[in-house]
Symmetry: C3
Subunit: 458 residues, 3 copies
C-alpha cells in the first residue's frame, strides 16, 4: 500500500495554497453530504485531485463492532410548500433544510400535523439548525425560527424524494512513507452538509498539511491521512486498520473546527495523557510561541478520537481544534458558514500543525546503536584526539560550543535506551528539544543513533 501511495504522490504535485483552499471551500460547501451516498462520494473525489486517496467502503448491513453499517441515503429533492404555494423550506436553498437521512414523504398536512416534523432554534431565530436521524427512520424539515412562528394555518405539502439503498460507508486514506514504520495518523471527517468550521475546516487543513509534508525529506515517521464520515466512518476504518495502528501508531491528531476566529489552537490530550504528542503539545504550550490551550481527554464529547481512544483500542490519538465545537452558538447551524469561518485561519492551522509535527519528529525516542560502553567518538571526529587539561578546563558557567555539543552528544547517547524520549533528554540537559536537533542530526548521520522503529512509548 505504501509503495503505491509513493507512486501516486509523484503524480499529485499541485500546491495547496490559501487560494486553493478558498476555491475548494466554495466547491465543497453546497454539497449535501451525509455519512453515505453521492454527496460524500463527490466530496472525496474533489480531495482525490490533490491527495492519492485510496477509497474503500464497508457494505451496508455489515456488522461493525457494536454497530451495523447503514443503507446509503440518496436525497434528490426536498421541499415544503405553504397553503399559499410559497416555499417554506427547500433543499435547493440549503442542504440543511431537510433532516439528514430523512425518509421520503409526499403528503398534505395541517400545520398542527406538520409541527413535529419541523425543527427550528428559538435561541437563534434566523438560523437553520443541522438535524440528523441516521438510525431511526423519520422525516422532517429544518428552518429558521422566525419563519416557523410566522407560518399560517392551512394545508402544507411536504415532499421529500429520498431513498435508502444498499451501498457502503466509504472512507479514503493515503500514506506518506518515512524511514521508520512508526506512524503519525492525521484524520478528519467528511459528512456534514454545508457547514464550515465544524466540517470543511478539518479536511481542508488536513489537505494543506498533506501538501506540506509531501515536500519533506521524511527521514523519520510515516504519515497516514484519513478522511471518513464521523463516528460510523472511523468505526469502519478501525474495523479494517485498527490492528495495523496498534502495531505502528506513534501518535495522531483528529483535525476539527480549525477555521474559527479563536486565536489559540486547542489540543485535547489522548486518553493515555502521556504520549508523544501530549508531551510535545505541553512543551509547545509552555514555550508560548504557538498560542495553545490544552484540554483533558473527554470520552463524552468530541469527534473520532472517541473511537480511537475507546478502551479496546486506546490508541494515542489527540485532537486539534481552533474554535471548538459546542463553544460557539453558530455550531451545527447554517450560521457556521464562510462568514463565520476564516480561510486564512485554516491555512494558519495547517502551518502550526506542520510545526508541531516537525517538533514531534525530534521529540521522539531514538536508540543508541552502540549501547555497550561509550561509542568511540574520537574516530568520528566528535571527540578531541588530543586530551590535555586545556581542552577539558572550562568555567562551569560558560561551555565552549564544541564542549557543549560534545556533552549533549554524550547525554543523547547515554539516555537513548528506548525509554527516554528527546523531551526527557532535553530536560536532563536543561535545554529545549530544538537545541538538541543539530546534535541529534549529527549522531544520526554518523550512524550512532536511529529513530525507534516500533511505536515504543507512544
Amino acid at each position: 500500500m505504501q509503495s503505491s501511495a509513493a507512486a501516486l504522490e509523484i503524480a499529485c504535485g499541485a500546491s495547496v495554497d490559501e487560494s486553493t483552499i478558498d476555491a475548494l471551500f466554495d466547491e465543497l460547501f453546497p454539497i449535501c453530504r451525509s455519512i453515505t451516498g453521492p454527496g460524500l462520494r463527490r466530496s472525496l473525489a474533489i480531495f482525490e485531485r490533490y491527495m492519492p486517496l485510496e477509497i474503500e467502503g464497508v457494505p451496508s448491513g455489515s456488522q461493525v463492532f457494536d454497530w451495523t453499517a447503514p443503507p446509503e441515503w440518496r436525497i434528490r429533492s426536498a421541499r415544503l410548500t405553504g397553503p399559499d404555494g410559497s416555499v417554506v423550506a427547500d433543499l435547493e436553498e440549503s442542504s440543511l433544510s431537510v433532516i439528514n437521512y430523512s425518509a421520503p414523504v409526499d403528503a398534505w398536512l395541517t400545520l398542527a400535523e406538520l409541527r413535529e416534523h419541523l425543527h427550528a432554534l428559538p435561541s437563534l431565530p434566523t438560523a437553520i439548525p443541522y438535524v440528523t436521524s441516521y438510525y431511526q427512520r423519520r422525516w422532517g424539515f429544518c428552518l429558521p425560527y422566525d419563519r416557523l412562528r410566522a407560518l399560517p394555518e392551512g394545508a402544507y405539502h411536504a415532499r421529500i424524494d429520498s431513498e435508502f439503498v444498499p451501498g457502503a460507508v466509504e472512507f479514503g486514506q493515503c500514506v506518506l512513507p518515512g524511514e521508520s514504520e512508526a506512524e503519525i495518523v492525521l484524520s478528519s471527517y467528511l459528512c456534514h452538509p454545508s457547514l464550515a468550521n465544524n466540517e470543511l475546516s478539518g479536511p481542508l487543513a488536513l489537505l494543506a498539511v498533506y501538501d506540506r509534508l509531501s515536500r519533506w525529506p521524511r527521514r523519520r515517521f510515516t504519515y497516514r491521512f484519513i478522511l471518513n464520515p464521523e463516528t460510523i466512518g472511523s468505526l469502519c476504518y478501525l474495523s479494517r486498520y485498527g490492528d495495523h495502528l496498534r502495531q505502528t501508531m506513534a501518535g495522531g491528531l483528529v483535525l476539527t473546527c480549525l477555521g474559527g476566529p479563536s486565536e489559540k489552537l486547542s489540543y485535547q490530550l489522548t486518553r493515555r495523557g502521556n504520549t508523544l504528542l501530549d508531551r510535545v503539545m505541553e512543551d509547545i504550550a509552555s514555550e508560548g510561541v504557538i498560542p495553545l490551550e490544552i484540554r483533558a481527554f473527554d470520552p463524552t464529547d468530541g469527534s473520532d478520537e472517541r473511537q480511537y481512544c475507546s478502551p479496546g483500542f486506546n490508541l494515542p490519538m489527540g485532537q486539534i481544534a481552533r474554535t471548538v465545537y459546542g463553544r460557539y452558538p453558530e455550531y451545527h447551524t447554517s450560521l457556521d458558514n464562510k462568514e463565520f469561518m476564516d480561510i486564512a485561519a485554516v491555512a494558519r492551522s495547517a502551518s502550526s500543525i506542520e510545526h508541531i509535527l516537525k517538533r514531534a519528529e525530534i521529540s521522539w525516542t531514538y536508540r543508541n546503536l552502540a549501547p555497550y560502553g561509550e561509542p568511540q567518538l574520537g574516530k568520528r571526529d566528535l571527540f578531541p584526539s588530543l586530551n590535555s587539561p586545556d581542552t577539558r578546563r572550562h568555567s562551569s558557567d560558560h561551555l565552549s560550543d564544541e564542549r557543549q555539543f560534545l556533552k549533549r552528544s554524550m547525554m543523547i547517547l547515554n539516555y537513548s535506551d528506548g525509554e527516554s524520549s528527546m523531551i526527557d533528554i532535553a530536560a536532563r540537559c536543561g535545554c529545549a528539544v530544538g537545541d538538541l536537533e543539530p546534535v541529534l542530526e549529527k549522531l544520526e548521520q554518523v550512524g550512532l543513533v536511529a529513530i525507534e522503529q516500533g511505536r515504543s512509548n507512544g
Copy 2:
C-alpha cells in the same frame, strides 16, 4: 462446594436480630473454649444452627507451614483449694480460672511452691487474667490479685483434670455464591473462653452479616464466611484454601472486637494498602457518614490478618474492629464481659459492615463488554435518536438529568477497561460512587458492562 452451600442456605432461614444475638451470647459465653477440643466444637455447633458451616479439621501432629497442629486439649475440672478448704480458683466459677491448655496436676503445695503457678494482675486487682500456654506444657491458675495477696500460708490442693489427646484443629466455613467468582472473605475467630468484646463480638457480628447478605440478590461478588481458632486455625485454613483465595479473593475483613463502647469503627489497611476495601474505607471515612478511623497494617499485632498478609500469601485482607484489642484495660481479662460489651453495638457493627460491602460491590472494577469503539447507545434507547443542536446545547453549569446520565454512561464505558475501578471513574466524573450506581445498573442490565470476574486489582 458452592452448590451444596446454596442448598443449605435455603434450609437456614432464621433471622438474626439483636435479641437472637443476645441469646446466643448468653449461651456461648460460659463455654471453656480453646484452640481445639469440646468447647470449640460445641461453639461451632451453635453457629451451625444459623449458618450452613462446613466443619473440617487438620489432625493433631500435622505439619502446617512452620507449625505443628497441637493435640486436642480436654479440660474436665480445675480447682485450687486453700489450707482451710476454701475454694481459691475454680473452673466452675470462670473458664478463665485455669491456664488455657493447662497440663493435669493433683498435688499439695505450700504457698511458696504454688506462687509460680498463679497468675494475677496487680493493675486490675479484681480481674481474672486470661493466660494461655499452648505450645509449652505447664499448669496454673488465674485469679484476682486481691484474692492472691490475701492467701494465707499453708497446704494448698491443686487439682486440674485435663488431658491431651490426638484430635484436630477445627474450623468452619460457608459460602454465599454471587454471579462473579471474585470473593469477599469474612473471617472471625472462636477460641477464647468467656471473653466478650475480644471474642464473641466477632463471630456474632459475622453471623449477623451472613444473615443480611443471605437475603441479597448477590448479582456480583461471592461471599465466604470463616470461623476458626485464632492463629493456628487460620494457618490450618490457609494450608487448605490459601491457593484458592489467591485465585479468587478480591477483598476481605477479619472481624474482631466489634462490641465495645467506641463510637467509631476502626479499619486496619491490608498489607498492600491499595486494595478494593482499602479504597472503599478511605472513601467512606472521608464522607463521614459512618464514623471510621483507618489504621496502618501492623504485622506485629492484631488477629488472623497477620497470617493472610504474611509475605507468602499477601492476600487483600483488612481488619475491622470497634474497641480495638490492647487499647482498653479490660482486654484479656474477666472484665471483658457483657457489662463491658454492648449487644446493640455488635448489631450496629454488622449493619455498618453490610453498608461497607454494598459500597464495595459498586466500587469494584467492571468491564466494558463492547470495548472496540463506542457501543451504539441509540439502539438501546440510551442516546437520543434525533441529534439536533437543541439536544446537545446546554449550559455547562447545569446538565439535564438525561444528559448527565448519558455522560456518566460514556465515562463508565470508556474507563471500564479492567484497570479503573468505579472509585476511579467517580473521581473522573467528579461525583460519589453512589451517584454512578443507577447508571452502572442500567449498563449491566443492557449487557454493556459486567463485573470483573477474576480478582483483578483487588
Copy 3:
C-alpha cells in the same frame, strides 16, 4: 575462579597500613604508566604482592564493542634539547614530559616548527600538563609555561625513542567470596603516569579496602576488585565480564581521587539512581557521621562508571571520590603530586568505604524462608511461651527491650519478601538500619531469613 582466589587469599596476608600505602606510593609514582605497556605491567605487579590479582589482556587489534584495542606503547626515552645543548624536557625529569602514546621522532627543528609539539599551561606556569593522544599518532613534549616562553630561537633536537608493538590491554581482578552470589564490585584505574590524587589514590584505597575486607567473615556479599587502565580497560573488562556482572552485581563503586584535601567524601549516584548503594549513601549522608556529598550521575564526565552505566549495561555502579577530578586546578598536571595528596586521606577514605560496605550488607534485601503464615517464633525462644496480659501490656511510649526485639523480628519477617530492603524496613520501624542489625543476625542464625542470593533490586 573464586576458589583459586580464596586459595591465594591465604597466601597474601600482609597488612596494608598507612606506612605501607606511603611506601607503595613512592614506588609507583615515578613509573611512566599508560593504558598499555611495561609501566602498567610493572604497576600491576606491585599490587599483586598484596592482592591475588588475576591478570589478563585483550590483544591489540581486537574489536571491543565500538573500539579497537590499541597497540602496546613502549617508551624508552624522550628528550628535547635546546640550541645551547640544555635539556628543555626529559622523560627522566618527569614521566609527564612526553605526550602519552607519543610517536617516535629524532629531528632538528626551529622553535617555530617545534611550537605545535609543545604543551604548557599559561594558567599554571610552573606545572607540566598531562597530555595524551592514544588514538591519533602525534609526538610532543609537555613542559612548564614559564620554561616554554623563555625558549630562545635556534635549532632544537627532539628525540623520542618509542615504539608501537602488538600487545594487549591488560587488567587485573580478584574476588573475596561471600556466602551470597550477589556481588559488590570495586574498581579503580591504573594508567596515569606520575599523578597522585587522580591516579594512585584510587588503586591504593582499593588495596586498603581489599585488605580490610579480606579479614571479614563475609557471610553475605561476594566482593570483586578490579584494576584496569581507564576507559579502554573497563571496556575490555566488560567485554569479558559484563554478562557475569549483569547476573550478579548488587552494587559497585569506582574509586577515584580519594587522597585530596577535601573533608567530605563525594558520591556519584548510579545511572538508575535508586540502587542499594545509592540508598545506603543517602542514608549515611543524612546521618552526618561520615561527611558526604551526593552528586547526580553524569554521563559526560567522570571515570569508568561511564562504561558500566552505558545504556546497554546500565549496571548499578556508583563512584566515590574525595577531591573530585576537574574541581581542583592541579588536576592533570605535575602539581597533582604527593604534596597535594595526603596519604592519611587515602587511608581515611579506605576506612570510610569499609564502613559504607558494612552498612550495605545490612541494608540489602533479605528473604523470609518461612513466608507462608508467621513462623512459629515460640519454638525458637523468640516469643514468650506463656501469653498473659502482663507480657503484652506496655505503654506505647516505652517498649521493653524484649518486646521491641520481637516487634522488629516480626517486621523483618513480614517485609522480607524480596522487594523491601532493610532500609525500607528500618523506615517502617522508625529506626536506623543499624538498630535492626542484631535482630537480623538472630533471624539469620535461627535460619528464618537469608540474604537475597541474586542481584534482586540492586
